[in-house]
């Protein structure tokens, strides 16, 4: 036997990414494209052990500080206000696409911190909405000129992981139609007019990612890892790819053996190789790590 195990998956991701050359990130609705250093997609990982209180709930002040640190590093601007102004205009209508899965939410702390900075950037509060399941019916999302995509990463029975790419599944009327073949074509949703070119920022919440799914609600507290992280990027594939590497490493750490995700999170590599939404290749990702660095796994 030639057990392929994780090796085959790594090889698959590697080969799938070969087709994707250096990615230039276009900020939709902006006049100019933001150049990415050396043709690589920038991903910022901020970690802070104080982000969770003794009960495991996020502390707002720390979340806000992490978000500020991340957006500054991502944009290269000196303060969060000027950083947000590079991606949001006062006349934007902004939908914050969250994820409200009850056991692992985007969290109100992340949503409110984003909202606060956008208001400071001049966006009217009435032109900002946070939604998940109701985005197609939400008037703000229907008129949105800009989207902020924010969700936690978790293992998922259909797609390997619930990812930033997958977070737009609620923008199609019948989400189950994208389920075949481990949700391989999730990135196709990003080409629909309702979202195409509107995403200004992707925020992957890695406070307590879920690395294995089990239980009546696909949730088991023992498979939640306190990672204390927040990841930001313009390229959703690059952020997801980095998040996936973390999830896979946590699985190796926890199970003390190779235990590939089942099903594989192939939609991330396919978002790169087939849909050219971004890059999944770590060699083409500029990862900036800030803060606590023990067991970062990347």
């Amino acid at each position: 036997m030639k057990p392929r195990k994780s090796i085959s998956r790594r090889q698959f991701i590697k080969s799938a990414s070969v087709a994707a050359l250096g990615t230039t990130v276009f900020l939709s609705g902006q006049e100019t494209a933001v150049p990415v250093k050396s043709g690589r997609s920038r991903v910022v990982l901020v970690r802070n052990l104080d982000v969770l209180d003794e009960n495991g709930n996020p502390r707002y002040a720390v979340v806000e500080e992490m978000l500020d640190t991340g957006i500054k590093a991502l944009t290269g601007m000196p303060d969060p206000q000027s950083a947000w102004k590079t991606i949001i205009k006062p006349d934007d209508i902004v939908g914050i696409k969250n994820n409200r899965w009850p056991y692992l939410r985007t969290t109100a702390e992340v949503e409110n911190a984003i909202k606060k900075r956008m208001i400071e950037a001049g966006v009217k509060e009435a032109n900002i909405s946070v939604d998940d399941l109701g985005v197609l019916q939400n008037p703000v999302f229907q008129k949105a000129t800009a989207l902020i995509n924010a969700r936690p990463m978790r293992s998922h029975h259909w797609s390997g992981v619930g990812s930033l790419i997958k977070n737009y599944i609620m923008f199609i009327p019948e989400p189950f139609t994208i389920h075949p073949d481990s949700c391989a074509d999730l990135a196709s949703i990003w080409n629909l007019p309702v979202v195409k070119g509107k995403t200004r920022l992707n925020v992957l919440v890695m406070f307590t990612p879920q690395f294995h799914s089990f239980g009546p609600h696909s949730f088991n507290p023992k498979y939640v890892w306190k990672y204390h992280g927040l990841m930001l990027g313009f390229d959703p594939v690059a952020v997801d790819s980095t998040g996936l590497r973390i999830i896979e490493a946590i699985r190796r750490e926890y199970f003390a053996e190779e235990r590939p995700l089942n099903p594989p999170a192939k939609h991330i590599a396919i978002a790169d190789s087939k849909y050219h939404l971004g890059t999944a290749d770590p060699q083409k990702i500029e990862l900036i790590k800030i803060g606590y660095d023990k067991e970062s796994f990347v």
């Binding site: 030639k2 057990p3 195990k5 009960n55 609600h217 696909s218 949730f219």
Partner: protein, 274 residues
């Protein structure tokens, strides 16, 4: 044993330590389980799930404790679902249980039970245990383990790793073999997998029983052709220097994965008492 799963609702107290039982409970069937378990219903359905009763307890701050009782139709399938994620041996509840960070799961007879209070607190943990005890006591009979797991030789077996299933996708959850169903696993092919530790080496033994010898032989032949390069003796070293071995005997197929050498495989095959 309750004849009807709804009996559990009457069995549980209306209030417990200030937490109130919400009513009415929800009843789920294979047809609508996915509306309750987004993305995870397939696990239960693949183990022949019959129906589930879902109840909630809430406190004054609207915190929630979720009680879910699954009628799996048979004790082997209830054990199969329970053992799917078991990592420890704990018999405090039912015929086997596990508690971690706010989630209690156990099985007894044909029922698989889950009580979730997350995030965990000491107060909630106490309530979870009391509810679990009430449910376990309410199930008067015990069920038999899947017969096939008795075929796993006990020596060097890590008991908490024993899995039972009859869908190939779950084999991949425990030990990735192939994205194809190369062993033609299905509802009529009970399978057991266990992890062994011997002299510092860790390896896995899979045993599958088919309805007849012809199907076992066909499955074994396909596995040899697709994953063992057609090895006549069923033994093959892997690219990582480990060994995989297959034995097809009568209506059974046995496979060892990740063994340190071929002699280890032959030795464990010799201990299988089919």
């Amino acid at each position: 044993m309750p004849e009807n799963i709804n009996v559990f609702y009457q069995l549980l107290p209306d209030t417990i330590a200030g937490w109130k039982k919400a009513d009415p409970p929800d009843l789920y069937t294979p047809g609508n389980l996915s509306t309750y378990i987004d993305g995870g219903a397939e696990l239960y359905i693949s183990y022949n799930f019959k129906n589930a009763l879902s109840m909630k307890y809430t406190d004054s701050a609207d915190n929630e404790i979720a009680v879910d009782i699954f009628d799996m139709g048979s004790a082997p399938d209830a054990f199969g679902v329970f053992a799917h994620s078991r990592e420890t041996i704990d018999d405090r509840f039912g015929q086997g249980s596990e508690y971690a960070a706010g989630l209690l799961t156990f099985w007894k007879d044909r029922y698989y039970v889950s009580i979730l209070a997350y995030p965990e607190t000491a107060e909630k943990r106490d309530i979870v245990f009391r509810l679990g005890r009430t449910i376990a006591d309410g199930i008067k009979s015990e069920g038999a383990l899947p017969p096939i797991i008795a075929l796993l030789p006990a020596e060097n077996l890590l008991p908490e790793t024993v899995r039972y299933f009859h869908h190939y996708i779950w084999l991949n959850s425990f030990y990735f073999v192939s994205n194809e169903n190369v062993l033609n696993l299905g509802n009529d092919t009970p399978a057991a997998l266990g992890k062994y530790r011997q002299d510092g080496a860790v390896f896995f033994l899979l045993v599958v029983r088919y309805p007849d010898a012809a199907r076992a032989e066909a499955a074994g032949r396909q596995f040899r052709q697709k994953l063992l390069d057609g090895a006549e003796d069923g033994m093959r070293p892997t690219e990582e220097g480990r060994w995989t071995g297959l034995q097809s005997r009568g209506d059974m197929v046995s496979i060892v994965f990740n063994a340190p050498d071929a002699s280890t495989i032959r030795a464990i095959f010799a201990k299988i008492k089919a």
